[in-house]
């Protein structure tokens, strides 16, 4: 049942206990975020895995992992056409024959360019979830670079659960969804001081 509590604007609003996940479009399966929702602002956030996630980093090429993450982000950002293209390129890259893999590479580059150039996407999500090294859009662009074959380390947007929870606390529901989708969330709980600065 809902009880009221003062919200950030000094209003008495219903505070609903909600849990997001373990299955939501564009989020890693098994990730559960609990918190209290007032209006559409989420506070007291805790993030956990429902179960121990699959052990160890998956052995896929960096560009494939980046396309996977990018496709998830694009789903949450509400761009189904671009998300489909990312998934198609990813599937081609994982194919056995070299011709299909090449087609995947040829598809990934224009997709990355399209996402990077979209003024609507920039206008729509710029400034959300800013950390020391950029906002959700910067992280999506890093995946674009990795997808197009630029040399980056395996997961450019890694984050621990603790840092993630601190980052999304006090954000609106839509922003929370985007921020979580803009990270590669580490399987193991991260040490308390991960070196990521956040407000």
């Amino acid at each position: 049942m809902a009880s009221t509590a003062p919200d950030r604007d000094g209003l008495e609003l219903d505070a609903l206990r909600v849990s997001l996940g373990p299955v939501l479009p564009g989020w890693p399966t098994g990730l559960v975020l609990t918190g209290s929702l007032q209006g559409d602002v989420l506070t007291g956030v805790e993030v956990s895995w429902l179960d121990q996630p699959a052990a160890g980093p998956s052995q896929v090429p960096a560009s494939v992992a980046a396309l996977d993450s990018l496709a998830r982000f694009l789903v949450v950002a509400g761009w189904p056409v671009a998300a489909r293209r990312a998934r198609a390129a990813r599937d081609a890259l994982m194919a056995a024959d070299e011709a299909t893999v090449q087609r995947g590479r040829d598809a990934a580059t224009p997709l990355a360019r399209m996402v990077r150039r979209s003024r609507t996407l920039r206008w729509s999500v710029r400034g959300i979830g800013a950390t020391g090294d950029g906002d959700v859009l910067d992280r999506a662009y890093r995946w674009c670079d990795a997808a197009a074959g630029a040399h980056t380390h395996t997961s450019p947007n890694a984050v621990g659960l603790h840092d993630l929870a601190a980052l999304v606390d006090g954000q609106e529901l839509a922003a929370v969804r985007l921020i979580v989708a803009s990270f590669d969330i580490e399987a193991a709980p991260a040490p308390a001081h991960h070196g990521m600065s956040h407000a």
Binding site: G78, P80, T120
Partner: protein, 320 residues
């Protein structure tokens, strides 16, 4: 081509063909337009794969046979009423769109009727979000309230601009007034705003935030089976009806050489639907807090300016 008839002798399709056939025709055309829109949409989202054309029909069958699920302590009555109202309102908005030169009924305020159906859609969609007593649906409902509020005025101004030039709010008069020049030429802004606002009211394409993936489907997230079908059909029918209305108000309705009027109107409508789908699917969804700003800061002033330009043209005898 409907001639300039006086209001007393306007032949509605009810008067011409009888009540039941006329209603059946409007419902059939509305359903067909909705299905065509859904099919076009599916093809574009699937990246031009023509096989996706059958997707909507398959989905209809799936929803028809699927068992319904419900939520804990829903507001059953309001929820049911609202899911039923969405497609009914969408079909009713077709009542003032001329089919073969005749509207189902003709009043001196056809354009207001069209607008009124949209205003009621506002209430219906909000209740669809409210009914299930669930977080994502409720957030979607609130998003739609903000969206409806922001796009109601631009849409109204766009409709009124066409009525202003024709000197009548009757759709058949608006078509007749375009005998010399299609309204899209002198009111391109109203044309584009009309289509964008229609997409906003059907929460589709860049305006799909009320049913966005970020809130797991929002207003439609807790709908299943036949109820899901009713709401999704309503959205598609409304988009199809808006394309037909757009062709009526801005592209001269059924006017054109060689082919029969009805065929011309259909061609323009399908073309308009194609344009909407291709343009609407190019861009990602606009975040609610940004698009509301865009509507108030950009769309309301430009539609007012458009109305002013048309008003001056009316005074200068442009449409006489």
């Amino acid at each position: 081509m409907p001639d300039m008839t006086t209001p007393e002798t306007v032949a509605t399709s009810v008067a011409a063909w009888g009540l039941l056939p006329a209603v059946a025709l409007v419902v059939a055309v509305a359903l067909a337009l909705g299905l065509v829109f859904a099919a076009l949409d599916r093809v574009v989202v699937a990246g031009g794969d023509a096989n996706a054309m059958a997707g909507p029909s398959r989905t209809v069958v799936r929803w028809l046979v699927k068992q319904r699920r419900t939520t804990l302590a829903p507001d059953r009555l309001l929820w049911r009423v609202a899911t039923g109202a969405v497609p009914v309102l969408a079909v009713l908005s077709m009542a003032v769109v001329p089919i073969a030169g005749r509207t189902l009924w003709s009043t001196s305020a056809d354009l207001v009727w069209f607008n009124a159906m949209e205003a009621l859609l506002w209430a219906a969609v909000w209740l669809v979000g409210w009914g299930p007593n669930a977080v994502h649906a409720l957030v979607g409902g609130y998003r739609f309230l903000a969206q409806g509020l922001a796009y109601e005025l631009p849409l109204m101004f766009a409709l009124i601009t066409a009525g202003l030039a024709a000197g009548s709010l009757r759709t058949t008069d608006v078509v007749a007034a375009q005998a010399d020049l299609w309204f899209v030429v002198t009111m391109p802004v109203a044309f584009v705003v009309f289509l964008a606002s229609a997409a906003a009211f059907a929460f589709w394409g860049p305006f799909a935030a009320p049913a966005g993936a970020d809130i797991a489907g929002g207003v439609v997230s807790e709908l299943s089976g036949v109820e899901r079908l009713l709401v999704e059909a309503g959205r598609a029918i409304f988009l199809g009806a808006s394309a037909a209305m757009g062709a009526t108000l801005f592209l001269g309705g059924g006017s054109g050489p060689w082919l029969p009027d009805a065929l011309w109107h259909l061609l323009k409508t399908v073309l308009l639907m194609g344009l909407m789908v291709v343009a609407g699917r190019r861009v990602p969804v606009l975040r609610p807090d940004r698009y509301v700003e865009a509507a108030w800061v950009v769309l309301v002033p430009v539609t007012l300016l458009q109305a002013l330009v048309v008003a001056v043209l009316v005074l200068s005898g442009m449409y006489a």
